[in-house]
Amino acid sequence: MDKITFTIDGQKITADKGMTILEAALENGIYIPHLCYHPDLEPVGVCRLCMVEIEQRGLFTSCNTPAEPEIAVRTETPEIEKVRRVTAELLIVNHPFDCLICEKNTNCELQKIAHFIGIDEEHINKMRKPERILPIDTSNPFFIYDPNRCVLCGICVRTCRNTVSISTLDFMDRGYNSIVSTFGNKPILESRCVSCGECVARCPVGSLKPKETPIPSREIKTTCPYCGVGCGLILGSRGDKIVSSRGDIENPINKGQLCVKGRFGHEFINHPERLTTPLTKKDGLFVETSWDEALELIADKFSHYNGDQFVALSSAKCTNEENYIMQKFTRAVMGTNTIDHCARLCHAPSVAGLAQSFGSGAMTNSINEIQYTKSIFAIGTNTTSAHPVIAYKIKNAVKEGSKLIVANPKEIDLCEFADIFLQHRPGTDVALLMGIMKVIVDENLYDRDFINKRCENFTDFKSSLDNFTLDFVERITGVHRDKIIQAAVTYATHKPGMLFYAMGITQHTHGTDNVLATSNIALLTGNIGKPSTGVNPLRGQNNVQGACDLGALPNVYPGYQKVDVPAIKQKFEKAWNCTLSEEPGLTHTEIFDSILEGKIKVLYQMGENPVISEANASHVIKAIEQLEFFVAQDIFLTETARYADVVLPASSFAEKDGTFTNTERRVQRVRKAIEPLGESKPDWQITCEIAKRMGKEGFDFTHPVQIMDEIASLTPSYGGISYERLEYHDLQWPCPNDTHMGTPILHSESFATASGKGKFMPLTYKPSFELPDDDYPLILTTDRSLYHFHTATMTRKGGLVKLRDRELVEINPQDAEELGLTNAQLVKVISRRGVVKSQIKITDVSQKGVISMTFHFAESPTNLLTNDAIDPVAKIPETKVCAVRIEKV
């Protein structure tokens, strides 16, 4: 970075070229009063308080005047003092004087300015206008907007517009009546606000402030427990309670930004419904018991069953260390490979598909590369709801000139920013993508050079495109051919291009084919192995990447080392000092079938809720009821845990140390902020206790740091990961050794396949398993709400409920009219597998013939309806498409 030197008040200042005078001053410890400046935002120079004089030029607002070499800046002259005083006084006269009861007391920019320039009480009182009291908006569950304290600096307006691209707030009216408000002057709760709280975090005065404002007595850096983005959090605690949460500006991913769940969704941690003592079921009722008794019972029961009768369900919400311990317990103690977790229901096709084409099933590139990309193809991802902080980055990239193609059966929020929106029918992704690829090939827009050098199987693939004529694709997908051509040309000619996908691609009986179609298009356009390119599956849970990496899967040990390869089996047998099974275990969906067949009799479940999350949930309930012994380990008594024989209270992420691996393979620390609630214990500790009571060695860990060391010694891709290194480095796997700095971009030299080449996969179009017919004429697809997470075990414990409190079946106005339904009407949604009651929401967002539901609400358990037909390769059930009908209640 080039440096320049100049003087402020005669002192020599060195600053980076391009810095403004204000930035240079602040960096050098010189205070210049300012209100509308915020380091995250473009300066606008509207508050006029940061006036400085550049000698021989005159007065300038320092926040938007670049520092130039050799200029002489003065911050104090009689003229500056005069101008600044008038400006400040005009703001102060209209501001309440009750600083002591204001939450921003001691942390308020206006207070700082008043203090700096000195205020004459008599003079101010003379200027004071008759009080104008504007109503305070308390509608939002998490924050208050008090317009009486607003100084019209516009930081909130610019944050909302430029940082998170929601644009809820703007200046309204004019002159003395100017106010920051929402469209139509509505309460914030009724506006389009998404409650991210970014404006609250930046408000320089007490105008936008959180409702709960205890000052924490200590703070600790950790990682957000919600989605796979892995934002850095700073949790504040006081006594044994978590009282605040804010974004970590030093975190490389979110740089201080958060979404509503990360910023405000921490109420679950100290919630009174948390499990705090072990429970055992006696005569159908839970009774409290001691740890000793519970663990003895479990150890005794587990010892009476062999491997074939045992299954473990691990958890993508738990840490890497806990998943490692869980799979080690399953394999080394119980002698079976039947361990799986919810990744089976979300990204199993990514692991299976991308392993075939690229040799490694993970996001190929990194989140921060989004800002430099030239085109973004978002297919089957409702990014603003499920991965909000990535959505901020996508929207900002679009503003910087990147093209955005959105393909989704629903007109999701991201469409507002899209250049091209392809609203295809659910389950027709292969046809859509192959159609686009055929255009790219026919128009000669593919990357010949890249394909020749780095790929194989192109000829076979090319001939498989022949079937995907525009006529055919238009008919299958319902997307107009012009849009298909436009999308093809845009993606192929704006490079580098990043492709993002999520559950819309994977949760199909042809999910693996869908994933292969995304890898084909990346190979075809050469968008892989380079910065700002790639195939980027967005992982749903905070640690679903890590749970897969650490072997909570039935066919692989940690680091995707196959259980049926003898050399690998021997390596683990030696390390764990035991005999291991070489037979791959059963997958999530197969497990419940096997229970019903009477083969599996014991279930040990950590942090999962399959009764709500599994497709065709009534099948799961039937299976669980048939178990001989069921241990559930969780932070709440979930819908599934109610069926357990023993319930063990686990500690939440705030009460333990560990690591999470985010969607871009970045391993990040989770740090203990408070002691475990009640008698709860971290999951790793509980599993180790059981193992030890069963007389097994290799579970004598006293801290997760020791577990990570064992992980690193056995898992090549985590070889260079240690707690010590994570203190100083951002590490993305593969990170094979202590000197390796991690791998932000995969496949840059060669692919991880046997031949080292990216493999094109010929594809055919396969319709979804269950299509609409006369009895079930509508397609049901599943979606997520921004305000809830998964089965809402954590998010339905506080203010988030006020933002969304029930299931709403989204239905197109035409379908609603044909069925004679009105908005908010209660209906029955019926599929071949079940009936669910819910209210409807009539909206254009859904296309005709397609309805959508979330699965956050246990009272309307959507997964009673969904289809458990599975993808033959990845074994993922088809939660995205099933046939239903709607009846009035």
């Binding site: 517009r161 644009s167 809820t168 703007d170 200046f171 309204m172 009216d173 004019r174 469209f183 139509g184």
Partner: protein, 156 residues
Amino acid sequence: MEERLKKIFSSYTGKQHELIPILQHTQNEYGYLPENIMLDIAGFIRVPESRVYSVATFYGQFRFTPKGKKHVMVCRGTACHVRGAPRILEETEKLIGIKEGETSPDLEYSLETVACIGACGLAPNMMVNDVTHGRLTNKKIHAIFVRKEKGESDEK
């Protein structure tokens, strides 16, 4: 989207700088700027709805409530003010039962104040639709607004 609005949009290209002409055109057509129409305008020119509302509220020419059949404008210009406009406004509000800036629920009346209607010689003034009433007194106002009760016209 309403046909009327589609017709308005047909004379524009959907660029951001067309916002104010579209708002004017819409107000000419509808008499005010209904909220749902402003949402459609925001979508048409692809700017946030809050921006549309911000621009619309900045200018005095835009209104957000429908005009009554009789749109009353009480002049608050200097001359009128000196000659008792505040009392005229107060009396008018009492008579027609709505406050400044409001529209009666039956859409019969709407009331606003204006800075000057350019008839200072006749102060205090008001306009009801296109008709100017000057040298107002309370008595005269009563004569203008005989609240119709049995279907008779209230404007003499």
